[in-house]
C-alpha cells in the first residue's frame, strides 16, 4: 500500500529531483473551425455554431482551415521548431459523447513541427526543449446533471467548441521544478499571445495544460513511474499540483513504496491530486492516417512568406526598445509582456511621444490603474492618441504632472479626451504671479518651522512648501514658478 506511506511522516530524501513534461493545448485565433466554416466564437448559445461536419453527421467530410495551418506554423517558428514540409492528419479513435465522429482528427506519426525550445529566465536561464507541435480539433463540451458522467441523471452536450482548431505543444521532460513549469508556461503564453496565434485565456479554456511528473535521484535515471496530471486550469493550479505531487511521490519513495503509473486529477477545492484511472491498461487509440485528408504539404515559398510576415517576437521587440529607444531593460521587459501593451506603447511612439516618457506613463500610471482595479488593457476605454495628448499638455505647461495623473484616471474611466477634461474642469496650470505670491505668503505664514529649515539650508523644506502651495491650489499651480518665488522670498 504505497499511499499509506503518506501517514508515516518520514523525511523526504533531499536528493530527489522532479522530472516534468508539459502537454499544452492552445486554441488558435481563427474565425472558423478547423475543418468546417462554423464560427469559433466563445460564449454563444449552445449548439448555435454547428453544421453537418462538426456534428459528425453521416456523409460529412473535413476540409483543412488554411488560416489554422498558418497560425500553427507561426507558433512553430516562434517556438524555434522545425516545420515539416509534409505532415499528416491521423484519426485518434475513442468513444466519448462529446466526440461526435468517434475519433478526433489529430496528427500522430508525422506532426506539423518538431524539435523546438523555449528559454526560461530562471535564474539561471534554461532551455526547455519542445518535442513536437501538432494540429488537431477540439471536442465538444459535456454538462452533467450530477457530479460526473457516471452518476449523472442526464448529460447535455454543446458542440460549439467541437472542431475549434488546437495546437498541442509537447515539451521534453526538461522541467525540474514547479517554478520552472510556471516560467515555461508564462513564456509560452507570452510568445503565443504576442504572435497572434491565440488569446491564451486559461479561464476560457483556450490554453489547457496536462503534465507528466516523475521523480529521480539527482542526475540519475528515472525512479518513479510516470504520473499524468489533468484538470490544471490555471498556472497556479499547475504550480500547486506539481508541488503536491513532488511531496506525495517523495513520501511514497521514502517509505519504500512504489509510485503507481496513473492519471490523477487536480482537485482545486481540496488542493490535492486524486487518482482518475490507472495507466496500466493504457488506452489504444488505434491511430491511422485520416483517409479523408491528403497529407499536408507546405511549400518552401509559402513557409518563407509566413516567416517573412511573422509579427516580431517579444525578445526582438525588447531588444529594439532597449537598444534603439533607450528604454531600461526591466521596463522593456514589462512593455513586451503582452502584445497589446507593446502595441499600445508602439503607437504612442509613432504618434511622436518621447519613448521614455511614454514608457513611464504606461508602466507607472496606466498599469497602476489597471492593476489596482484588476482590469486588462481591453477594458480601458482610453487610447494611445489620448495618452500622447496628455503628455503634450504637460510639455506645453498647460497642466502639471500631478494634475495629469488625475486626468489619466479620468481618461481610463470614461474614455474622454484629456484636452476636453482640462477645458471643462478648468485644470489649466495657474501662472498668474500675483495670485501665486498671495498663496505663497499664506503658506509661509502658516509654516514657520519649514521657513526656519530653509534658512538653515535644508532643501527638503522648500519642496515641502511647494507641496503646500500645490495643495492649496488643487495642484494647478505651476510648480517651477512656485519654487522660484519661494526661493526669491526666503534667500
Amino acid at each position: 500500500m504505497p499511499e499509506s506511506a503518506l501517514n508515516e511522516g518520514r523525511a523526504i530524501p533531499e536528493d530527489l529531483e522532479m522530472v516534468v513534461g508539459l502537454e499544452v493545448h492552445v486554441e488558435l485565433l481563427t474565425k472558423s473551425k478547423m475543418f468546417c466554416r462554423c464560427s469559433t466564437r466563445f460564449g454563444d448559445p449552445p449548439n448555435s455554431n454547428v453544421c453537418p461536419v462538426c456534428l459528425g453527421l453521416p456523409g460529412s467530410l473535413p476540409v483543412v482551415n488554411r488560416e489554422a495551418v498558418r497560425l500553427a506554423v507561426i507558433a512553430a517558428l516562434a517556438l524555434n521548431c522545425r516545420v515539416n514540409p509534409r505532415s499528416r492528419f491521423a484519426r485518434k479513435n475513442y468513444f466519448y459523447p462529446d466526440l461526435p465522429k468517434g475519433y478526433q482528427i489529430s496528427q500522430y506519426e508525422e506532426p506539423l513541427a518538431v524539435g523546438g525550445y523555449v528559454m526560461i529566465p530562471g535564474p539561471p536561464p534554461k532551455k526547455i526543449r519542445i518535442r513536437r507541435l501538432h494540429l488537431e480539433e477540439d471536442a465538444g463540451k459535456s454538462m452533467h446533471a450530477g457530479e460526473d458522467i457516471t452518476r449523472a441523471a442526464y448529460s447535455l452536450l454543446d458542440f460549439n467548441r467541437c472542431g475549434v482548431p488546437l495546437i498541442e505543444i509537447v515539451s521534453e521532460p526538461d522541467i525540474c521544478s514547479p517554478e520552472e513549469a510556471r516560467q515555461y508556461l508564462e513564456e509560452l503564453r507570452r510568445i503565443l499571445e504576442f504572435t497572434g496565434v491565440s488569446d491564451v485565456k486559461m479561464e476560457e479554456g483556450s490554453m489547457r495544460v496536462d503534465s507528466n511528473v516523475s521523480l529521480r535521484r539527482l542526475g540519475q535515471e528515472r525512479l518513479g513511474a510516470l504520473v499524468e496530471l489533468k484538470n490544471l486550469n490555471s498556472f497556479r493550479a499547475v504550480v500547486r499540483a506539481l508541488t503536491y505531487e513532488k511531496d506525495r511521490q517523495s513520501r511514497i519513495l521514502a517509505a519504500g513504496g512504489t509510485v503507481l503509473r496513473e492519471t490523477r486529477g487536480w482537485d482545486e477545492s481540496l488542493e490535492i491530486t486524486v487518482p482518475l484511472r490507472l495507466k496500466e491498461t493504457s488506452e489504444d487509440y488505434r491511430y491511422f492516417p485520416d483517409p479523408d485528408l491528403h497529407p499536408l504539404v507546405l511549400s518552401e515559398e509559402w513557409l518563407e512568406k509566413v516567416r517573412r510576415e511573422m509579427p516580431p517576437l517579444p525578445e526582438e521587440k525588447r531588444g529594439y526598445y532597449v537598444n534603439v529607444l533607450g528604454i531600461p531593460a526591466y521596463d522593456a521587459g514589462i512593455l513586451t509582456s503582452s502584445r497589446k501593451l507593446s502595441e499600445f506603447f508602439d503607437e504612442c511612439v509613432s504618434r511622436g511621444a518621447d519613448p521614455k516618457v511614454a514608457s513611464n506613463w504606461i508602466l507607472s500610471e496606466l498599469l497602476g490603474y489597471m492593476n489596482s482595479r484588476g482590469l486588462g488593457l481591453d477594458a480601458i476605454p482610453t487610447s494611445p492618441e489620448f495618452l500622447v495628448k496628455l503628455i503634450r499638455l504637460i510639455d506645453k505647461g498647460v497642466i502639471s504632472g500631478r494634475i495629469a495623473k488625475d486626468i489619466l484616471a479620468k481618461m481610463c474611466e470614461t474614455g474622454r479626451d484629456p484636452e476636453e477634461i482640462v477645458r471643462e474642469e478648468g485644470l489649466q496650470q495657474v501662472t498668474d504671479e500675483a495670485f501665486l505670491v498671495r498663496v505663497i505668503d499664506e503658506v509661509i505664514a502658516e509654516n514657520p518651522s519649514a521657513v526656519e529649515g530653509i534658512k538653515k539650508g535644508r532643501s527638503k523644506a522648500i519642496a515641502f512648501l511647494v507641496g503646500q502651495v500645490m495643495k492649496k491650489t488643487g495642484g494647478r499651480a505651476n510648480p517651477e514658478l512656485v519654487n522660484i518665488i519661494i526661493k526669491s522670498k526666503l534667500e
Binding site: L57, G59, V63, N93, F95, P97, G102, Y103, T150, R286
Partner: protein
C-alpha cells in the same frame, strides 16, 4: 405495355421526347412510378419511393419547359439514389437499423448537382448494410431480388439501384463502389455501371464505408446514359478534400470518338480466380468483338493483384471500424436505453448486422497496437505495389479487360453462411478501388444456368455477364469510349433479352 413503353426507354431517348415536347416530365415520372407499383413487389429495389416530391419536381420541370427555360441536362429524368447518399428531408438508412429513422438534413453534393440539372429523384434504393456485401442480403431493411431470376441476388452492395434500372423502374440510378458495389450488381443485372476514378466525383454526403476506396458511380441501361449522369456528378467539390480539381470533359461527347487503335491488356491473373465457364466464354467472345472493332488485345500480368482481396479486407474494415464509430446512439439514429453510458454504447451497437460487426471487429483488430504494422501498414504497402503494377501496365495499354465477376448472379442464401465465398464475388473489381482507377461494367452476354432449386423441374435461366474495362486515372473518356463501341456491337441482342425479361416481370404471377 411493350417495347415502346416509356419505362422501357433509355434516359437519352426520354430526354429527346421531352425536349421535343412529345411527352411531359410528369408523364415520364408517372410512367415510372406506375412501373414501380407494378413490379416492386417482385423486385424490392426501393426502401423509399418519393412519389409526391417526384411528381412536384416533374411539374416544376414541365413549367420551366413551357415557359421556354432550360430545365437542365437531366430535365425531368427520374433518378434513384442509393440509400447511403444524403437527400435533404429523406430518410438515409444505409440499409441499417442504426439509421432506419434518420432523416438527412442536407443534400450530398451529387444530389445537389442532380437537382440543379433538373433530375427527379424518385426514390432511395436498397443496399447491403453500410455498403458491406455483394448481394444486398445484408440489408437490415428489405430483400431485393434479381429481376432476371427472383431466386437470385441482384449483387451488391448497390443491388437496389442496379435491380431498379434492370427492372425498368427507373432509367438512371446512383450507386457507390468501394470494392465493386456498382460494377458487380450492374453485371449481375445486365446493366451498365461505372466506378469513376477516386477523386472524380465528390463523396460529400455519401455515408462513408472505407473513405480511401469509396466512390459514387452511375448505373444505367447503357453507356450513353452512364455518360449523361457522369456529366452531372463529376468534378471538384471544395467540401471533399479528396476530390480532384482538374478539368472534366463532356463524357457524352467522347462517345463519338473511335475506339479503333486502342491497346487493351488482359491480365492473366483475372481468369484464374474461380471464373465460371459461362463467364469465360462470354468474355472470350467479347475479346473477339473488341478485336473486330480494331482494338489490339494482348495478355499481360499484374502479379500483385492476387493479393488484392486480402489487402482490401484489411484496409476497408480498418477504415470502416473508424467511420462507423459515430453510430454510438448519442446524437442521432438508433439508441438502446441503458443505465450507463458504456452499456448504452454496447446495446446500441449490437444493432449492427453480423457482417458489419464482423468488419468492425476485423478493422479494430488490424489497427490495434501491436498489430498495426503487421496488418494495416503491410496492407498499405501491398496497395502501393498493386498501384505500381497498374501503372506499369498502363505504360503499355490504354485499357485493361476482365470479366466483372467470376460468376453470374448466385442464389439468395447461397453464400450468406460463408463470408469468404461472398467476398470472392468482388475479386475482380477490388483492384480498381485499391488503385483508384476508373472501371466500367458493361453487359457482354449471357450464361444459361439451371434455375436451381432441389427437386424442382430444371429450366434454363439466362443470366447476364459483365465485361469490365479499367482505365488510367481520370481517363474515364477512354474507358467509356471503348465501352460504348463494344456495347453498340451487342446492344441489339442484350436489349432484346432485357425487354423480354422486363415484360415477363410485369406479367401477373
Amino acid at each position: 405495355m411493350g417495347d415502346n413503353a416509356l419505362w422501357n426507354m433509355k434516359a437519352s431517348a426520354l430526354l429527346e421526347l421531352m425536349t421535343a415536347g412529345e411527352v411531359s416530365a410528369t408523364e415520364v415520372v408517372e410512367a415510372f412510378l406506375d412501373r414501380i407499383s407494378e413490379v416492386e413487389p417482385k423486385v424490392g429495389a426501393f426502401l423509399e419511393v418519393m412519389r409526391e416530391e417526384g411528381l412536384a419536381q416533374a411539374r416544376r420541370i414541365d413549367k420551366l419547359r413551357q415557359s421556354g427555360e432550360y430545365p437542365g441536362l437531366l430535365g425531368g429524368l427520374p433518378v434513384a439514389v442509393k440509400d447511403n447518399i444524403c437527400v435533404a428531408g429523406a430518410r438515409c438508412t444505409s440499409g441499417s437499423r442504426m439509421l432506419a429513422n434518420w432523416i438527412a438534413p442536407y443534400d450530398a453534393t451529387v444530389v445537389r448537382a442532380l437537382k440543379e440539372q433538373g433530375a427527379v429523384i424518385i426514390g432511395k434504393t436498397n443496399m447491403d448494410e453500410f455498403a458491406m456485401g455483394s448481394s444486398t442480403e445484408n440489408s437490415a431493411l428489405g430483400l431485393t431480388r434479381n429481376p432476371w431470376d427472383p431466386r437470385r441476388v441482384p449483387g451488391g452492395s448497390s443491388g437496389g439501384s442496379a435491380a431498379a434500372v434492370a427492372a425498368g423502374e427507373v432509367p438512371l440510378a446512383l450507386g457507390s463502389d468501394t470494392g465493386g458495389s456498382v460494377r458487380q450488381p450492374a453485371a449481375f443485372t445486365g446493366v451498365t455501371g461505372l466506378k469513376p476514378t477516386y477523386g472524380r466525383v465528390s463523396r460529400y454526403g455519401l455515408v462513408a464505408f472505407a473513405s480511401s476506396l469509396d466512390q459514387i458511380g452511375p448505373i444505367a441501361a447503357d453507356v450513353k446514359d452512364v455518360c449523361l449522369l457522369m456529366d452531372v456528378i463529376s468534378g471538384f467539390d471544395e467540401r471533399d478534400s479528396t476530390s480532384e480539381d482538374r478539368p472534366v470533359p463532356s463524357y457524352s461527347r467522347v462517345l463519338s470518338k473511335s475506339a479503333r487503335g486502342l491497346k487493351a491488356g488482359v491480365p492473366k491473373e483475372c481468369l484464374t480466380q474461380g471464373v465460371s465457364r459461362g463467364v469465360r466464354e462470354c468474355f472470350e467472345r467479347a475479346l473477339e468483338i473488341l478485336e473486330d472493332l480494331g482494338i489490339g488485345i494482348k495478355e499481360t500480368s499484374l502479379p500483385m493483384i492476387r493479393y488484392a482481396l486480402d489487402c482490401y479486407y484489411i484496409i476497408a474494415p480498418a477504415e470502416a471500424s473508424s467511420n462507423l464509430s459515430r453510430f454510438d446512439g448519442v446524437r442521432y439514429g438508433l439508441r438502446a436505453e441503458a443505465k450507463s453510458l458504456e452499456e448504452m454504447y454496447m446495446r446500441t451497437r449490437r444493432n449492427f448486422g453480423p457482417e458489419v460487426r464482423r468488419r468492425i471487429m476485423l478493422g479494430t483488430f488490424a489497427l490495434s497496437a501491436g498489430y498495426y504494422d503487421a496488418y494495416y501498414l503491410r496492407a498499405a504497402k501491398v496497395r502501393t505495389l498493386i498501384r505500381r503494377d497498374f501503372k506499369r501496365a498502363f505504360e503499355e495499354f490504354d485499357i485493361l479487360l476482365s470479366p466483372t465477376t467470376p460468376t453470374t448472379a448466385f442464389l439468395l442464401g447461397e453464400r450468406t453462411q460463408d463470408p469468404l465465398s461472398m467476398y470472392m464475388a468482388d475479386v475482380l473489381t477490388v483492384p480498381a478501388n485499391l488503385a483508384g482507377l476508373p472501371a466500367l461494367s458493361v453487359p457482354c452476354g449471357f450464361e444459361d444456368v439451371p434455375s436451381g432449386g432441389n427437386g424442382e423441374k430444371e429450366t434454363l435461366r439466362r443470366l447476364p455477364v459483365g465485361l469490365q474495362i479499367t482505365g488510367r486515372p481520370f481517363d474515364e473518356e477512354t474507358v467509356l469510349c471503348a465501352g460504348y463501341a463494344f456495347y453498340q456491337a451487342v446492344a441489339a441482342a442484350v436489349e432484346a433479352e432485357l425487354t423480354c425479361m422486363r415484360k415477363g416481370l410485369g406479367q401477373v404471377g
